[in-house]
């Protein structure tokens, strides 16, 4: 009976020893927390109670676990004597106290990134294929976002999209050419048109849009801008002289609602 109890407690001690060694291997404790001579004396004390195959296997596991911890202690000593050694608690303190900018700067000062040219390879193609095959369907992914019931796609014509301001009704160049024609027609009589009269539209937004188009007409050589006293005139060119690099001069014209009222 006594021997059975002794064997049971012996097994428990060995299992605890193995568990401690595993925790040390998993970096939960410092390897020097385990006193190797104590550990060996535990193993030695129970060595004469080994009866079954399980007992012998447990004993073997205990010995190899202790051997691994001795290895870790040796590695620890080698590491402490190397230039890389900094106490882990000190590192944690430093990391807590340093700013993100400082840490980033330290990394940058020690970082020499690899130069590599990406290209399509067999390995990357396989990886992409695997990704595609493992990817959940659109509806599965949508479920995760909790967007509510799915509304199927509808149709809209160009007019509707233009009203929604998704697309422009006319291309920009076409708009500019139309405005240039309008300017040419307006200036038929006097060869010039008052700037403010010409840009005025049905509302303020329309006026701004026309002013912007006019600025492109002038920049790209479709018209000239003339200043006479306080007045500004637009003179259309009979033959446009578009130069893609734009006008060498810049002439800002502030457009406010007050300026438009004043010009009336």
């Amino acid at each position: 009976m006594m021997e059975k109890v002794r064997r049971f407690s012996g097994r428990r001690e060995l299992e605890e020893l193995i568990q401690t060694c595993i925790s040390i291997e998993n970096r939960r404790f410092n390897p020097f927390l385990l006193d190797i001579s104590d550990a060996l004396s535990i193993i030695r004390r129970h060595s004469n109670q080994l009866r079954t195959l399980e007992d012998h296997l447990l004993d073997m596991r205990a010995i190899t676990s202790v051997a691994r911890v001795v290895g870790l202690q040796s590695a620890n000593l080698r590491f402490q004597s190397s230039a890389l050694y900094v106490d882990p608690s000190m590192v944690k303190q430093k990391l807590d106290s340093l700013s993100r900018e400082q840490l980033a700067e330290f990394l940058l000062l020690s970082w020499h990134p690899i130069v590599e040219l990406e290209q399509l390879t067999l390995a990357s193609t396989k990886e992409a294929k695997e990704f595609w095959e493992k990817m959940l369907s659109f509806f599965e992914r949508r479920k995760r976002l909790r967007l509510g019931p799915f509304v199927g796609p509808g149709s809209a014509d160009l007019g509707e999209l233009a009203r929604m301001r998704v697309v422009e009704e006319k291309a920009y160049t076409r708009k500019m050419q139309d405005l240039w024609k309008e300017l040419t027609n307006s200036a038929e009589k006097d060869d010039e048109v008052d700037y403010w009269d010409f840009i005025r539209g049905s509302d303020f937004a329309h006026t701004i849009a026309r002013a912007q188009l006019v600025s492109f007409l002038v920049s790209y050589g479709y018209a000239n801008l003339l200043r006479k006293g306080n007045s500004i005139f637009l003179v259309p060119k009979a033959k446009p002289d578009p130069h893609p690099e734009g006008s060498p001069l810049s002439f800002p014209i502030p457009i406010t609602k007050e300026a438009l009222v004043r010009a009336k």
């Binding site: 590192v91 430093k94 990391l95 700013s99 400082q102 990394l107 020690s110 990134p113 040219l117």
Partner: protein, 205 residues
Amino acid sequence: MKNEPAYYNEKVKRAAHMLFFKRGRIPGARSWELKTGLGKGYTKVLEHLDEGLKDLDLEVKKVEPQTLSDYKQRPEDGEEESRYFVRLKGTLAPKEARLCGWRIDNLAALAAALAIVVSKQGKSERKELETVIGNKAGRWRALTLMDTFLRSGYLEEDEEGLVKLGWRTRAELDLPSLMMLLAESKAPFAESSEPLDEDQASMEG
């Protein structure tokens, strides 16, 4: 007689192609690949390439195979498994790093993760790293950053779930310099080192 400069020029070009163009998951080339492609004197060719790259602030870096375990020293026959890379000789300015797509948060998180792993002799629990990164970059971002570092090779996870330094760290980082800078550092006076709130942390810059 072989025309030596022309011979080396051709070999150097081939070596540059092998090192610059990524052919597999990991960039660079292994010693045996270079030996096959350039011949027995490949180290001499790489020296020539290194010399040529100096003006561009680049260098050829040899990375030894990883130590097999905590206890065993590296075997002597590791030369066949060494890997060569072309990397920046100098360092990047913060602005340049941002242009390469690196945010300050990410750089800080990587520095913190590497410092912890190094201080723990090359292995650390993932949870501990996520906590440390979380203090710098926010809790949710810590999870994605850990995945990013693992995917890009700065960190590796072993079969026991412990995180260790990856091949990219061994190739790109001067760890003694990083640990020295960290050990010598002083915290700024009015520094906000408190964790980011989630909104700020999830912002892409």
